[in-house]
Symmetry: C2
Subunit: 239 residues, 2 copies
Amino acid sequence: MASQHDPRQNHLLAALPRDEYQRLAPHLERVELTLGESLVESGKVMRHVYFPTDSIVSLLCVMEDGDSTEIAVVGAEGIVGISLFMGGETTPGRAVVQSAGGAYRLKGQLLKDEFDRASTLQYLLLRYTQALITQMAQTAVCNRHHSLDQQLCRWLLLSLDRLPSHELVMTQELIANMLGVRREGVTESAGKLQKAGLIAYHRGRISILDRPGLEARVCECYAVVKKEYDRLLSYQRPG
Amino acid sequence: MASQHDPRQNHLLAALPRDEYQRLAPHLERVELTLGESLVESGKVMRHVYFPTDSIVSLLCVMEDGDSTEIAVVGAEGIVGISLFMGGETTPGRAVVQSAGGAYRLKGQLLKDEFDRASTLQYLLLRYTQALITQMAQTAVCNRHHSLDQQLCRWLLLSLDRLPSHELVMTQELIANMLGVRREGVTESAGKLQKAGLIAYHRGRISILDRPGLEARVCECYAVVKKEYDRLLSYQRPG
DNA sequence: TCGCTTCCGTGCGTTAGCGTACATGGCATG
DNA sequence: CATGCCATGTACGCTAACGCACGGAAGCGA
């Protein structure tokens, strides 16, 4: 069983066979991520990858004028810094802590070394990356075709899936940055959900009161992403 | 030099060292892709990957109601079917031929075998996948924040970069499907470009008359993607 | 040559989301 | 308790894109 602070609260680390995990474990360094902290800056070379345990990290694409959009969200099921093993070293995007909490970090070179052994880690990371790609694609199509109301539901559910509690610490201003819309738009959509009794909002804290209600309002995008994550990250190795 | 039909017109295949290429070459099968042909269907297991030479393939995300959006575009610089080596076997998206032309296909298992040798091919494919991810992310943010006019310019330039000629065979209806907008919207935006003398449109054929003019109108997204492709696919191996 | 289909242009009214401005009420800080 | 900032609510005009409907023209096949 996992102690209170155990790297294996991260699903990728938990899925490693004993010997691979033992090689990495001494180098895993626990860090506390604070809300708004930036783990990856556009174009900067990363020194570490991060395995969240009970934190959430948003992958953002920021443009010259400051407008931004969330591309994908990473929790305990994933890793931040895929470009380190994909080979690019850097990304044009940013990674920002969306929900404070713990994570374990690992020096990029150590991850790369283990990855290059054609290890289980490689298998896991590639499958995870494909799940991430699906999330990005579905986010793109959702941005195009669905209403802000639906997108907000999707965003809340994706966050909720990565949190232990039913409460998230997040101002409407920040949600607006994630979704790439106006703050006032979020106020309006969130107001609808609140009137419908699905959530309660109070100064940067959102309590989810009726999760099935959210699921009833969300667009198909949420289910598509969730299904693909379940499929790809169930970790039944072929051999 | 490449003969008229040479697998090495595809940049990934061209970048392989001799021995790796020799292993794959006997299994590369030339195919002619026709406009609108579907190479990958949502959820279906793929049997082959495709290396385009002078064709263009669009990666689409299609929703239940039929609305779709292009997530990324693949030409001679890339490969169609990344989920075969990423490990997922399938994707929720589709891959549709956007511009007819040649490609070489390879049985999925053969590609996987070579990939798992920790070969140069693996190095190339992973870097390519990262470039693809960048394109997807930028597409998402462009969908959100930029006008249809700008997106059309981006789409034309991305297509143009993957074509030998200055003419593309593509109805406004199809472009609308790619961009996830109405056909009438494309008519209007294309009309502006035509009035400005940048393109000429005639029954499913677009001639680009003034490429610098398009580049002057396009949003930053085009340059971000192009720069990242150039950076990641220049193929200077570290060792 | 006729007729049909495909492709493009245009003109509505409608709407979601934008930009802006401003009001209110918590909460912290002194 | 006074001050001030921050998070949220609200209002209003504006615009890009939507849905729908129609018209015309180019090409193709009989």
